[in-house]
């Protein structure tokens, strides 16, 4: 019963530590207008707007979609707000895609953003809870113990994280939108950066960014004449599991494994390393690349780090991951997931510029959030499914 759905327009803002040149409406409009221009459509051609962002406390505004409605041309239209923690950028895109796939709308604008510099995200994440002792220090403190568990489980040597940190930052040099541009980055620089949450060093963690991402999704009958060919949605899936429970595998969560099995099943992918040409995967801390390589079935359990070490995930490798520089180079939290989905679409549309993988036909976009418990993924392709 589902209709075909395609990405016909993408837009993103410059991702920077502080975008004080624009307001929040200005920021989301910057991305939205770019996506409309890329799709070759105007505001009137949009049937509905689906917006996502991470916790409202990041900017100190409650349900900001209400005040953003006019800036996004949503007046008189359906406006929908998604929040699924760090995976929100991905799940927002999926809600928009479902509106098209279900035949509800022909053309949907989806937007995700974060303007972290407007407030103190670290504070928002660490709102003191009564009766508890404040021990954590942001997301890194949460994820570092799981990284240690992965290292123990896989026997991965400690330099693997540094390889990812360097690779993604070198990729970011080819992406003008990326927040971090570190031309001098090398393994030594990462190794010498300050240890934040042992075993995680400063340069192995994502930055804090302002930025927005937007896409125009269209049904087969409403593709219009976009600047680049459409990126067809071949599969989409969301999975969630509880934050903590007895016996939970926090290194390779089952929700991630089942989500990718679902999305690959829909897209007919049985040998991901061969069939997927390029992947944009949510890697906010370096070690999550080998961890997700295993979780997503690109490598056998315990073998992901060997793939990273071999250079397979570099731009000239056989399965390039995060050619855009990924979350390690830009992290406007609420938009980070959508940027993965959007970059995957850019690759199969052939519009990724310097970080384009030649001839990319099938790409994976991935986002995760919460305590590695919320997953959103899609597979997009150059060919009509």
């Amino acid at each position: 019963m589902a209709e075909r759905c395609a990405v016909v327009g993408v837009g993103q803002t410059l991702l920077r530590s502080k975008r004080d040149d624009v307001s929040i409406p200005g920021l989301v409009r910057e991305a939205a207008k770019a996506a409309l221009a890329d799709a070759g459509v105007g505001w009137d051609d949009i049937d509905a707007v689906v917006i996502g962002k991470a916790p409202d406390m990041f900017e100190g505004t409650m349900m900001p979609e209400l005040s953003l409605a006019p800036a996004l041309g949503a007046v008189g239209k359906p406006m929908f707000r998604v929040h699924t923690a760090g995976s929100v950028g991905g799940s927002t895109a999926l809600v928009a895609a479902h509106l098209v796939a279900a035949g509800i709308h022909e053309r949907v604008l989806t937007v995700a953003y974060e303007k972290q510099s407007d407030s103190d995200a670290m504070w928002a994440l660490s709102v003191p809870q009564p009766f508890s002792a404040p021990l954590l220090a942001g997301a890194g403190g949460y994820f570092a113990p799981h990284i240690r568990a992965y290292m123990r489980r896989s026997g991965a040597p400690e330099h693997i994280g540094r390889i990812v940190a360097v690779k993604d930052r070198l990729n970011a040099l080819k992406n003008p939108y990326a927040h971090l541009h570190l031309p001098d980055i090398d393994l030594k620089m990462v190794e010498e950066s300050v240890m934040l949450w042992d075993p995680l060093r400063y340069l192995e963690a994502c930055p804090s960014s302002d930025g927005a991402a937007a896409m125009v999704l269209a049904s087969e009958g409403a593709l219009g004449s976009p600047a680049f060919p459409p990126a067809w949605v071949h599969g989409m899936a969301m999975r969630s599991e509880p934050t903590m429970f007895a016996g939970r595998d926090q290194v390779s969560p089952r929700a991630g494994r089942e989500c990718v099995a679902d999305v690959f099943g829909q897209a007919g992918v049985t040998r991901p390393r061969e069939q997927i040409d390029v992947a944009e995967v949510y890697v906010p801390f370096s070690w999550y690349e080998p961890m997700w390589l295993e979780n997503l079935g690109f490598a056998e359990p315990g073998e992901g780090w060997k793939l990273t070490e071999s250079g397979a995930t570099a731009m000239d490798g056989d399965i390039p991951w995060n050619c855009s520089g990924g979350v390690l180079s830009s992290n406007p939290i609420g938009a980070s997931g959508m940027l993965r989905f959007l970059e995957a679409a850019m690759q199969v549309r052939g519009q990724a510029g310097e970080h384009q993988i030649d001839g990319a036909r099938l790409a994976l976009g991935h986002a995760y959030g919460g305590g590695s418990q919320f997953f959103a993924m899609w597979v997009v392709g150059a060919a009509k499914p």
Partner: protein, 366 residues
């Protein structure tokens, strides 16, 4: 306008927590858990039957980020489930579930929401919904904004203070029959008019109570719906629309977004509804919504007592859908409309048309 045929999806189960001024002992998980188990038990279903789960809530009511994350523990999402969350009223979570079910792969979905207005000062908190640059810094209370709207209505000659009192009296007296209601009263409109103004022209009775609550609904498609409920409440159309945020750019006496959503949901096609559950936190807003929905005098409005009897923010809209569906199950209604609102002065509105027959499934979007 001809809308494409939609897959018949029905509301088949509904449960809510007893609405109270302050839930002092239970946390969100403990508040939701019995509601979720009740919504399943009522139809002999379990979480394992659900192809999708969607919830609606907002962090600012709770006072901490990611409040929906722990709330999920009330369901037991293991093995992992397709699941999503909206920072909106649960009625919009229901909309998302309905959309996914249209694609045909999912036959049943759980929708839930929770909202506790008691932990903080809800009038301060709701001010943070306003434009953060020019309006929120003034910290206008939602009551003051609603009063602006009520005054505009009165000045336009479309309502009187007596009519506001009549709306309040009727809702709170109807609430006598609702075991989950928080505020019930047999006071006459005349008696209510003796109330003091909170913000003129709104007297105490025209305001919603502050409520802690939670609700859950099960949606099912086709045969699954008939298996679980003898007389399912079929969603024949559902749509939502938003207006501009700038109050000065709106005609506050009208709700064009409600009217448009109603039209797109097919409310004005087919036989008229006999029952409406409208989400009007302030008494005068019921008058505005009634007009936008073109409800005649024969329509029973808010037999549950509506948001004037209990207003758990983020759940009150979902509860309207559940209450309307329950009347269809009970054969007290053939065709009903449920309405949910969000934002200051009815900025965003959702309309859901429910029918005892699945023959009239049309609307939504396009």
């Amino acid at each position: 306008m001809s809308a494409p045929a939609r897959r018949p999806v029905a509301v088949v189960s509904f449960a809510q927590a007893r609405n109270v001024r302050r839930e002092a002992s239970r946390n969100e998980v403990e508040l939701l858990m019995p509601v979720v188990s009740e919504v399943f038990a009522a139809i002999g279903a379990s979480k394992d039957d659900m192809g999708f789960i969607c919830s609606g809530s907002t962090d600012y009511l709770v006072g901490g980020p990611f409040s929906f994350v722990t709330a999920l523990d009330a369901v037991g999402v293991w093995p992992p489930r397709a699941e999503s969350h909206v920072e909106m009223d649960g009625a919009f979570a229901l909309y998302e579930a309905w959309v996914l079910m249209q694609e045909g792969a999912i036959d049943a979905a759980l929708v839930y929401s929770f909202g506790r207005s008691s932990p903080g000062d809800v009038t301060e908190i709701l001010a943070l919904q306003l434009d953060p640059y020019v309006t929120a810094p003034l910290w206008p209370s939602p009551v003051a904004l609603a009063a602006l709207q009520a005054q505009a209505l009165i000045d336009a000659g479309e309502a009187t203070e007596e009519e506001l009192a009549e709306v309040a009296a009727r809702n709170r007296s109807a609430a006598r029959a609702n075991p989950n209601a928080q505020v019930v009263s047999d006071a006459s409109p005349e008696e209510l008019l003796a109330d003091e103004y909170v913000v003129a022209p709104l007297r105490r009775h025209a305001l919603p109570p502050i409520t802690d609550g939670a609700a859950a609904i099960v949606l099912a498609a086709g045969e699954k719906a008939r298996e679980w409920r003898e007389r399912p409440a079929w969603i024949t159309g559902i749509d939502h629309r938003i207006e501009t945020h700038a109050l000065g750019c709106r005609d506050l006496t009208r709700s064009p977004s409600t009217a448009l959503a109603a039209e797109r949901a097919g409310l004005f096609e087919g036989p008229p509804v006999d029952l409406a559950e409208v989400h009007a936190p302030f008494a005068h807003q019921e008058l505005i919504v009634r007009r936008a929905l073109e409800l005649g005098d024969a329509v029973t409005v808010n037999p549950s007592g509506g948001a004037l009897a209990a207003n758990p923010v983020m759940s009150a809209g979902l509860i309207r859908i559940g209450e309307a569906a329950a009347r269809i199950w009970a054969a007290e209604s053939e065709r009903a409309v449920a309405h949910a609102t969000s934002g200051p002065c009815l900025q965003q509105n959702l309309v859901c048309v429910l029918d005892a027959s699945d023959g009239a499934v049309v609307g939504g979007g396009a």
